[in-house]
């Protein structure tokens, strides 16, 4: 490759590394949110690149809903150990037990309950900045998000009152108690993520590849049968060859039928896809403004 020719992945990479280094240079106590999902896998590689040969100069933080796919947690723990990173895990169950997160009557999803759990972790460790893997192409409310997204001392996002971001000059200044969420992958698309995973030869959890799994049909999508989600009377359990495209809670992530067994297969599939990634997330379908509301309350 000529020194003068940079392709789209090179450009996205240098932009993300620049953002990560602004975090390291501009904040006292940053953390990097790492779940083991495909976006945070790229985020972690970019952090390795940004700070090499130093170790990543911030802890990894994961909010464990208790409804995670076991494959994801296994991968998360192994990858953190490989990098000798300090992995901090805060569980929604513990937050519920401590009264920090309060489930509503009949609320089974842990999606909303992640928010108080995350805010409590930020307070506990006095994090002033959390790097996350959100991308603007995921969802309409994300499309208006900044690279450096200011949150007030209640963790809230105010879409009408965001700091303008010009050139590559980020205003990283905070007053005590305030917090910044930083999104180095803002300009990446789903296809970019997979192309980067291929270029960097990154390992991903096995559930992204096709495998046999028992599923039931609910609200127009295939939902995995687990102890948390036993089939209801009358539901037909079918063994299908499926994979996940985006990973949320095990109870709200749709599986889809796919023969993709390699990263190349996935790239071909994503390039030809006719449905967006979050089309398979029940949490985003609940209302048209679902993401906007959750972000205002302090969601990632």
């Amino acid at each position: 490759m000529s020194v003068f020719s940079a392709d789209h992945l090179d450009l996205l990479e240098t932009e993300a590394i620049h953002v990560m280094r602004e975090v390291a240079g501009g904040f006292e106590r940053p953390a990097l949110l790492f779940s083991g999902g495909k976006d945070s896998i790229c985020l972690l590689r970019l952090a390795e690149k940004a700070f090499h040969p130093s170790r990543i100069p911030m802890p990894l933080l994961n909010v464990d809903t208790g409804h995670h796919f076991p494959e994801l947690n296994e991968y998360r723990d192994r990858r953190a150990a490989q990098l000798q990173a300090n992995l901090i895990i805060r569980k929604v169950e513990a937050a519920i037990a401590a009264g920090i997160a309060v489930p509503l009557a009949g609320e089974f999803s842990r999606n909303r309950l992640q928010i108080p759990t995350l805010l409590a972790a930020i307070e506990e460790f006095r994090f002033d900045c959390c790097i996350g893997g959100a991308r603007r192409d995921e969802e309409k409310a994300r499309a208006k998000e900044r690279f450096f997204s200011f949150r007030d001392s209640f963790g809230q996002w105010d879409p009408k009152n965001q700091r303008p971001e010009l050139w590559n000059l980020f205003n990283t200044r905070l007053n005590p108690g305030e917090n910044m969420r930083v999104f180095p992958l803002s300009n990446w698309t789903e296809l970019d993520i997979w192309e980067y995973i291929r270029r960097e030869r990154l390992e991903v959890p096995s559930i992204y590849f096709s495998h046999k799994r028992n599923c039931v049909r609910r609200a127009g999508q295939w939902v995995p049968v687990t102890d948390l989600l036993p089939p209801k009377p009358g539901e037909e359990v079918r063994e299908l060859v499926v994979r996940v495209r985006t990973i949320g809670d095990i109870i709200s992530t749709g599986m889809f039928e796919s023969p993709a067994t390699s990263v190349d297969d996935i790239i071909a599939e994503v390039a030809a896809a006719r449905v967006t990634e979050r089309g398979s997330r029940a949490d985003d379908k609940s209302s048209e403004a679902a993401m906007e509301d959750r972000k205002k309350a302090g969601y990632f």
Partner: protein, 439 residues
């Protein structure tokens, strides 16, 4: 590079500007729709939110008006980013609103753009907003401009009307300082000349809008002339396992201009010390040379005093260095700016205290002329100001380098971003004699 692509796929960043009813959201919806970038669930959502009392067509604007607050008020309140790709290129759209009061959003969206699309309603022709948007594109040195003359269906695809609007534009374009301008007659609603060439404009022989976006030459938009490297972070491994890393001291940053090669002679500012590049370190191994905008870690031959906010520059072409700056400033805060205001100035990776010593003039964007005698700048005003900083700023003129020629102003108490500045060229470059004053 990815094994399946033969040529590097470039990213084109563009922004769209127009008045409220010029059909901007419809145009973006049309680009996404006709380039097959819309997914089934997006189309389904579009159908669900379509105005059923209409003529049955999709309301393409619903694709981009994302926040509930906007849908309720029927306006776009902030910069929204959209992504699509064709086999030729990746595209990032900064969708910026056209109301007068939202100039700050347009400046924000335009600051990283390679290209601006100015939408003009064929019936209304060139209006104040068109001049304002063109002026901002020119001030921000966006290299390429497209004037999309929209709603051509409502003027019966009149070639005369199209030529008239082109002539109106060409009248003030020289003042806006934009060299590459293309005019395209379109109908965003029906899709004429957006993705597919229209049979209704046999007199038009230029590219379609997408055709132009796919082919406009952008490789030379970056500054590859003068090496500039603002240091973001000092890279010193703590307790490394590898004993050879005990003495590793690297300077990490993103190249903001030019090319650096191993062995190059460089100056480290603010100290003004000459040294040379011992190695260019990356995660993927040492490399011989690197160019803007790559992120690297530089190792220098000599121990120098440098840290975040310092800048490593090519010794052959030195930047300006001064505590007295002159700049075009776009004011973005509800509190008006008056001479004497104390602020923080962030330039590259360095933040210094500053005072705005004078407001010299305000730009009348309707006719692109400077109005002297201004005493204040209100939100969305653009003016020429003088600024004095507590310590020297090392910079290039904005016209030479968008990254080392720009700054933002920050309120020290609230941390609000107050304004965006574009520096005039330095009157003199850093003199090596400064070495004598280095501590």
């Amino acid at each position: 590079m990815s094994p399946t692509t033969s040529a590097a796929i470039e990213i084109l960043r563009f922004n769209t500007c127009g008045s409220v009813d010029d059909g901007k959201s419809t145009l973006i919806g049309r680009l996404l729709h006709d380039s097959k970038s819309l997914m089934e669930d997006q189309l389904e959502a579009l159908n669900n939110s379509a105005d059923l009392s209409g003529d049955g067509r999709f309301n393409l604007a619903n694709l981009t008006d994302g926040l509930r607050a906007e849908r309720e008020q029927g306006i776009t309140i902030d910069v929204a980013y959209r992504y699509f790709s064709t086999p030729a290129r990746r595209f990032i759209i900064a969708d910026t609103p056209g109301h007068v009061q939202y100039t700050r959003n347009m400046v924000t969206g335009a600051s990283t753009a390679n290209l601006s699309i100015i939408l003009v309603d064929a019936r209304a022709g060139v209006i104040d907003q068109s001049r304002r948007h063109t002026a901002i594109a020119g001030l921000l040195r966006i290299p390429h401009l497209v004037v999309a003359v929209n709603k051509m269906d409502l003027v019966d695809w009149s070639r005369e009307r199209f030529e008239e609007i082109r002539a109106q534009f060409l009248e003030f374009l020289p003042r806006a300082n934009i060299k590459d301008v293309v005019f395209i007659p379109i109908s965003a609603l029906d899709g004429d000349n957006v993705v597919d060439a229209s049979p209704r404009t046999p007199w038009y022989h230029g590219p379609t809008l997408l055709g132009h976006l796919e082919t406009v030459h952008i490789a030379s938009d970056l500054n590859l002339e003068t090496f500039r490297f603002p240091i973001q972070w000092v890279n010193r491994p703590h307790y490394p396992v590898d004993p050879t890393l005990h003495d590793f001291r690297g300077y990490s940053g993103q190249i903001a201009g030019g090319v650096v090669r191993k062995g190059d002679r460089v100056m480290v500012l603010p100290g003004g010390i000459f040294t040379s590049v011992r190695a260019i370190h990356t995660f993927d191994g040492e490399i011989e040379e690197a160019c803007c905008p790559k992120s690297v870690t530089l190792l220098l031959e000599d121990d120098v005093d440098a840290g975040r906010g310092s800048m490593i520059v090519g010794a052959d072409r030195l930047p300006g260095g001064s505590t007295e700056l002159r700049a075009r400033l776009c004011w973005m805060h509800p509190r008006v700016l008056r001479a004497g205001a104390r602020v923080l100035l962030k330039h590259t990776t360095s933040t210094v205290q500053a005072v705005v010593t004078a407001i010299e003039s305000r730009l009348d964007v309707a006719n692109l002329t400077e109005k002297p005698g201004a005493t204040e700048l209100s939100m969305n005003d653009i003016g020429t100001v003088s600024i004095r900083t507590a310590s020297p700023v090392f910079f290039d003129g904005y016209a030479t380098n968008r990254l080392t020629g720009s700054f933002i102003l920050i309120d020290a108490a609230t941390n609000a971003t107050l304004g965006a500045g574009m520096l005039e060229p330095p009157t003199s470059v850093v003199a090596p004699e400064h070495t004598d004053f280095a501590i």
